[in-house]
Every structure is written in structure tokens, then in C-alpha cells.
């Protein structure tokens, strides 16, 4: 597979790792957060931590749309799904996430709710057309990458004159979350030290590299946008080590083959037409983050499930012992959770971080368990 396999070469990876080891200053620590769950997944899938020197540590960030979804929003989705004559459709990722009372959409479906899995949001339109006597709600999740397709689908629904289709919008914004990370209690108290960011790959193909400029400027934190293949990641780590060694704090772009400064103008314009920024949105782990999510504009109100069904916000019941919130803030590691592994496992996930394969707990469980302490992850 072109543009994939070339960036997975193990020999080159080991050479790059040796380069990082050579250039990393043994006298200092490099605490680097990969914001994006895609990177978290790749880090474990390819055993990147094994290749790094002990003082180059990776901190997992909140860039997994499944993991940061607050339970209350998922409860709202499950309530919707349980309405008779309503079909809720969403991506496979959300189906197993436990909401209040450990009910997931899959469990709700087993109990009779009409829940359908989509691969693409265009399927939701077809579902609405095929079920004219049902309400079809698309439970939309995701960062800036996933938002333009949702916007397009809403525009199309309007053009088609669909009267039984709406979107429960949960699209969130990357830069706002990065600001929030740098403003957590732990970050402000200095207990979470963050020396650099690995910036998202696919989000950046849409928003471009420009929106990251404030981070080096405001917080002095360097940021390197990186592709999701292991060589991309290692190169980005080397670039961060070099910035830190050289005392620079800049936005650099390792993923130049797909990311420009501007991103995808057409996709951004479409998003802008259909969505507007919310005053505030609740993130798991980060709490209410101002201007961190999108809502459907008034012009498309009839396609907004929140208005259409007059949804009331819900406060979900978190499992108190689950450390997902702290993990999502980068403040804890999965192993700090006493539920990790038993009883919480991908098979019986108690928190969202154990469900998505991008979640730190799931990634650690699937790929890291065998090392049993051999790998130093986070903190």
C-alpha cells in the first residue's frame, strides 16, 4: 500500500530511534504529549516506547472523540435510541461505550432500541429515505476531520427535503482542547509537565497547520504535526527533541505530504456554513471547555436533533473509580487505575478509554500488558 508501507519500515525506525537516543540530552526529560488517539494507537501497535530512551516519555492526550464524550451526552443518545419509531445511527466506535448504569448503545439495541452502525454518514440519509415513517437520527461524533462529512450530509438532507432526518451533533474542536490541557489544574500546578505536543495528522489535513501557532507563542510549547505511521511519529519526536535542545518553540510540520498551512478550504467553508461554535461544551476529563465544540446553525434547525426533540442536557453517572478523566488530561496512566485489567478490560470496559482502540487504556491493554512494567508510560 503506497504511502503506508514505506512509512512502516522497522530497520529505518530503529535507526531513527538511535538518532533520538543520540540527540536526547540524558540530563533532561522530554515529556511529549501525543494529542491524538491515532498516535496513541500507533505508539502501542508498533511498540514505539520500547525504542525510546527512558527520558523521552509519551503522554497520551484527549484526542479520541469516543473517550472524551461525556457520559451525559451518550445517555442522551441512548434515550433517543430508545424512543419507539426512532432509529439512531452512528459509527461503530460509539456502540460499546458504557453510559450511565453501564448501558451501551449495543446493550440498548439488544433490549430493543433501533441502533444502526454506519461506516459513512451518507448511509444515514439512505436510512432516512428508506424509513419514511421513522425518525432517523445520526449521532455525530468526531473532531475536525469527521465534521465536514456531517456538514455535507446535513446540506444534502435539506436539498432532498427530508423531513425525518436529524443530527445529534457532538463534533469537537482540537485547538480548544489543547488550550484546556495546558490550563488543567495539574498543568497549572506544575504536576503535569508538558514539554511538547505531537500535533494531529488527519485533523490537520482539514484545519491546516496555522491554528497551532498560539501554542508555542502563548505557552512556549513546541508542536510538531505528525503522520500516523511509525516513521512519521519517530521523525516528529526527533524534531521535538531538537526544538527542545535548541530552545525553540515552533509549529513544525512533519506530515507535509498531506498537511498545508491552510488545510482544506472547501471543507472548512462547508463546516462554517452548517455549524457554529458552542459557547461551551463538556469534555470528559477536561470539564466544560469554552468554544470547544460545534452546534448546528439556526438555518438548519430542523436537522438538529437537540432542537427537534427538545433534548434536555443530562448529567451522566461516572464510575467513580475510573481514572479516564485524569488519563485524558495526561495526569495519570492507565496503570494508575485500580480497575485496569480486572475488572476493566476491552471485553468489559468500565470507562471510555478502554473501549476505543485509540483509548489509552485499551491501547495499553492490547499491546502493552505483556511488558508488565517494562515500559514506562506517561507521567
Amino acid at each position: 500500500m503506497k504511502y503506508v508501507d514505506e512509512f512502516r519500515d522497522g530497520a529505518t525506525a530503529r535507526q531513527l530511534a538511535a538518532r533520538i537516543a543520540a540527540e536526547a540530552d540524558p540530563a533532561r526529560a522530554y515529556r511529549l504529549m501525543e494529542f491524538c488517539g491515532g498516535h496513541t494507537h500507533a505508539i502501542f501497535r508498533y511498540g514505539i516506547p520500547d525504542l525510546l530512551p527512558a527520558n523521552v516519555r509519551l503522554i497520551h492526550g484527549p484526542g479520541c472523540p469516543v473517550c472524551v464524550m461525556p457520559i451525559g451526552r451518550l445517555d442522551m443518545a441512548i434515550d433517543l435510541a430508545r424512543r419507539p419509531e426512532l432509529i439512531l445511527c452512528t459509527y461503530g466506535d460509539m456502540l460499546r461505550v458504557p453510559a450511565s448504569g453501564r448501558i451501551s448503545l449495543l446493550k440498548a439495541r439488544a433490549e430493543g432500541a433501533a441502533v444502526r452502525m454506519l461506516y459513512s454518514p451518507v448511509e444515514a440519509l439512505k436510512l432516512a429515505q428508506d424509513n419514511p415513517s421513522k425518525e432517523v437520527v445520526f449521532f455525530a461524533i468526531g473532531f475536525e476531520t469527521t465534521t465536514p462529512p456531517t456538514a455535507l450530509v446535513i446540506e444534502q438532507a435539506q436539498k432532498l427535503g427530508l423531513t425525518n432526518f436529524s443530527v445529534f451533533c457532538n463534533h469537537v474542536l482540537t485547538p480548544a482542547a489543547m488550550h484546556a490541557i495546558l490550563a488543567t489544574p495539574e498543568a497549572r500546578a506544575g504536576t503535569l509537565q508538558l514539554d511538547g505536543f505531537i500535533g494531529p495528522a488527519h485533523v490537520s489535513t482539514v484545519i491546516g497547520s496555522a491554528p497551532y501557532a498560539p501554542f508555542p507563542q502563548q505557552y512556549g510549547t513546541p508542536l510538531v504535526i505528525a503522520g500516523f505511521e511509525p516513521l512519521d511519529l519517530l521523525q516528529a519526536l526527533l524534531m521535538l527533541v531538537r526544538q527542545l535542545n535548541e530552545g525553540r518553540a515552533e509549529v513544525e510540520n512533519q506530515f507535509t505530504r498531506a498537511v498545508t498551512a491552510e488545510g482544506n478550504r472547501k471543507a472548512k467553508a462547508l463546516t462554517e456554513r452548517v455549524f457554529e461554535v458552542r459557547e461551551s461544551f463538556e469534555w470528559r476529563g477536561l470539564g466544560a471547555v469554552p468554544h470547544s465544540a460545534l452546534q448546528i446553525r439556526a438555518e438548519f434547525a430542523e436537522f438538529d436533533a437537540e432542537r427537534r426533540f427538545a433534548l434536555e442536557p443530562r448529567t451522566g453517572l461516572e464510575n467513580k473509580a475510573c481514572e479516564c478523566p485524569a488519563i485524558l488530561r495526561g495526569a495519570k496512566s492507565p496503570r494508575d487505575c485500580r480497575l485496569f485489567g480486572n475488572p476493566c478490560s476491552p471485553d468489559n470496559p468500565l470507562g471510555s478509554c478502554m473501549v476505543s482502540s485509540e483509548g489509552a487504556c485499551a491501547a495499553w491493554y492490547a499491546y502493552g500488558r505483556q511488558r508488565q512494567g517494562a515500559v514506562e508510560v506517561a507521567r
Binding site: 529505518t12 538518532r19 491515532g38 468526531g142 482539514v206
Partner: protein, 84 residues
């Protein structure tokens, strides 16, 4: 986040759709978010939508750089190997 994969445009069907190919697999995808696509272009595919074109030149540059860094490391290791 955002599982996406580079695919090659095989055939442009209309404004909205194209046939893409990867590893011998063909799939109709939505290309409404990109302008000026042509057959042979590679795009990043996410939830059925092409999100961005891949820049061949940049890709080659990255690979060249990676190779260079690799060689550098190798040379260094060799040097270290001799050193002790």
C-alpha cells in the same frame, strides 16, 4: 483519532464521487470536499470522504529525509562500534 487511509483515484464519476483503489480494493468514495482531482491522485479517505490530496513531492522529500537520518544514525553507530 480519525482512521484514514491513502487511496488512489481510479475513475472520476461525477462532481461528488469517484472510484478509489487501495491494495486491489475498489470503492466508490465521496470527493465533494476536494477540487481539481484527477485520476492517479492519492487522497486521504475518512468515513467515505476524500479529505485531502497527498503531495507526491513532499512524500518523497520526507522519505529521503528519513533515509538520510537513518544513514546518519547507522554511520554513528558504526563509529561508536569502533570507538570502545
Amino acid at each position: 483519532m480519525c482512521l484514514a487511509i491513502p487511496v488512489r483515484i481510479e475513475e472520476l464519476l461525477d462532481e461528488q464521487s469517484a472510484v478509489a483503489c487501495i491494495g486491489g480494493l475498489r470503492k466508490t468514495i465521496n470527493v465533494a470536499l476536494l477540487d481539481d482531482l484527477k485520476v492517479g491522485d492519492y487522497v486521504i479517505l475518512h468515513v467515505g470522504f476524500a479529505l485531502q490530496k497527498l503531495d507526491e513531492t513532499e512524500a518523497q522529500r520526507t522519505l529521503a529525509l528519513l533515509a538520510e537520518l537513518g544513514q546518519l544514525a547507522e554511520a554513528e553507530q558504526a563509529a561508536q562500534g569502533e570507538a570502545p
